[in-house]
């Protein structure tokens, strides 16, 4: 059964050049002159249960938009999106965290928003704190945490959710080496349970370690979709080509 299925998905954003005044909005709507930007164009994708899929591509290629659509925080302008099963998405580190709340309070807040029940949170809170390695500071306000500690906490909450699909957007880069290894172990464990992972990164090494399959996005289009090694090689070749051409 496919866990994620996108059929000719496109996503359009309106560029409003900072103009959000009512009069201007009405005017541009009436004249249909709003500038558009297509973040995704006609993307077809099918991800089966248990696959680990990496997303690569330059800034602005549409990786985050694609993940946002699969995670359900934004909707596709065209095409159909089907996601089977429960999704845990970590689209940005510390989203949903409040600096004035303590680490523990933030775990509860974040867990509730991600879809944990009160009972589930109580059951996993100790292992979340343990995984994040912030036990000493757990009752201190989050603003006293380093960005690495915040990252650990955010990742720990998302990975402990009993979800079938895990979505990660550029979130592993902040932690130290030990934490990155810890995350990779956890992701492998996640995969062994037959769960699905969708993962965007600028670090080819990470992608190769974690993913069997890689999608290469370029200017909102799916340029290549295939085995990790192959797509990564083609991608780095094209990057080398660009830098040679520009010299």
């Amino acid at each position: 059964m496919s866990m994620i299925e996108l059929q000719s998905v496109s996503k359009r954003y309106h560029l409003h050049h900072g103009r959000l005044l009512l009069a201007k909005q009405v005017a541009t709507r009436l004249r249909r002159e709003a500038a558009e930007f297509w973040a995704l164009r006609n993307v077809n994708l099918r991800v089966e249960a248990g696959e680990t899929v990496g997303l690569i591509g330059a800034n602005g290629a549409g990786k985050s938009t694609l993940l946002n659509i699969v995670a359900g925080v934004t909707s596709a302008t065209e095409g159909s999106v089907q996601v089977a099963g429960r999704v845990a998405a970590l689209l940005e580190l510390g989203s949903g965290f409040h600096p004035d709340l303590t680490g523990r309070e933030n775990i509860h807040l974040n867990a509730a928003l991600l879809g944990y029940s009160r009972r589930q949170t109580r059951q996993s809170i100790d292992s979340i704190i343990d995984f994040a390695g912030v036990a000493e500071f757990i009752d201190e306000p989050l603003r006293t945490y380093s960005s690495g500690m915040t990252a650990r906490l955010g990742f720990a909450v998302a990975i402990h959710l009993q979800s079938e699909i895990l979505i990660l957007d550029e979130v592993l880069a902040v932690g130290d080496q030990a934490f990155q290894n810890q995350c990779i172990d956890k992701i492998h464990a996640f995969r062994r349970q037959g769960k699905t992972l969708l993962f965007a990164s600028h670090a080819p090494g990470f992608v190769e370690d974690i993913c069997q399959r890689v999608l290469w996005l370029e200017s909102g289009r799916l340029r290549r979709d295939g085995p990790a090694r192959e797509v990564l090689a083609a991608y780095s070749q094209s990057l080398a080509g660009v830098s040679v051409a520009s010299v």
């Binding site: 925080v73 949903g96 309070e105 509730a112 928003l113 991600l114 879809g115």
Partner: protein, 255 residues
């Protein structure tokens, strides 16, 4: 397409607790601020309308407080509800959950302060006013309907505010106007006949009038008023949910 698996009670309690803690954690007087504000307003209005202008209403401080507390709740809940989605932009853009919970949790957070103020009011009425009477049972009904009414407004205006950032200022101005158009420091009887219809159509005025009836006259609010208030509140909530539901699809893209 995706099952909604959220434990809504847990989500609400966390969001409300967040607002509450963030607001008061660094304040030494904490929750007392929510009692101080209406009392200060009461003192100022009492001074103006019994010392500067000739007094027309007996037990004026209590009369004013009975109007101020439901009005303050309405104005604050509407204004903070309106900006709630924008204030939680980071959350809305990056975490998937029913976005309706944000404006509603902000209104419910204001209910905590409201409840504390109403308790204070009950004590004051019991000691200095008409005392306790059985019509107090109507209070939860009337105030509950007010909460439902504001929830509807907060939902609709929170969604508007994302698309038109001017919305918050419209709400501020409306609240300013409303303060004078609700019988807080004058009584319904003083209003010329020709303008009374306007007050009868205004749900906030209806709530204040009902509270005055219950607290000062020890009588139940007129049934026609209760029915109108119930209809308007239900209509407001339904309209708020529909408007929010239609606008929420694009909210994350406009934040």
């Amino acid at each position: 397409m995706r099952a909604a698996t959220h434990d809504h009670l847990y989500v609400f309690s966390n969001l409300i607790a967040k607002d509450f803690k963030v607001r008061y954690r660094n304040m030494s007087l904490g929750i007392f601020w929510s009692l101080l504000n209406p009392l200060i307003m009461m003192i100022v209005l009492t001074y103006v309308f019994t010392k500067v202008f000739p007094p027309t209403i007996e037990n004026f401080p209590l009369f004013v407080l009975i109007g101020l507390i439901p009005f303050n709740f309405f104005a604050l809940a509407w204004a903070t509800g309106t900006i709630s989605i924008l204030n939680n932009a980071a959350l809305v853009k990056k975490v998937r959950f029913h976005r309706e919970v944000i404006p509603i949790s902000v209104v419910l957070g204001n209910v905590i302060h409201f409840a504390i103020q109403v308790l204070l009011l009950m004590v004051l009425v019991a000691v200095f006013g008409a005392g306790i009477n059985r019509h107090w049972f109507w209070l939860p009904v009337v105030l509950g309907l007010e909460v439902i009414f504001v929830c509807g407004l907060a939902l609709a205006f929170a969604a508007f505010d994302v698309y038109f950032r001017d919305t918050r200022y419209v709400v501020e101005s409306a609240n300013l106007l409303l303060f004078w158009m609700v019988p807080i420091f004058y009584s319904f009887e003083q209003i010329p006949e020709a303008y009374r219809l306007f007050y009868e159509l205004n749900p906030v005025a209806a709530v204040v009038l009902a509270c005055q009836k219950i607290f000062l006259q020890g009588a139940s609010p007129p049934h026609s008023l209760l029915i109108k208030l119930a209809l308007v509140s239900a209509g407001s909530l339904a309209a708020g949910l529909v408007i929010f539901g239609r606008l929420k699809k694009g909210i994350a893209d406009y934040l």
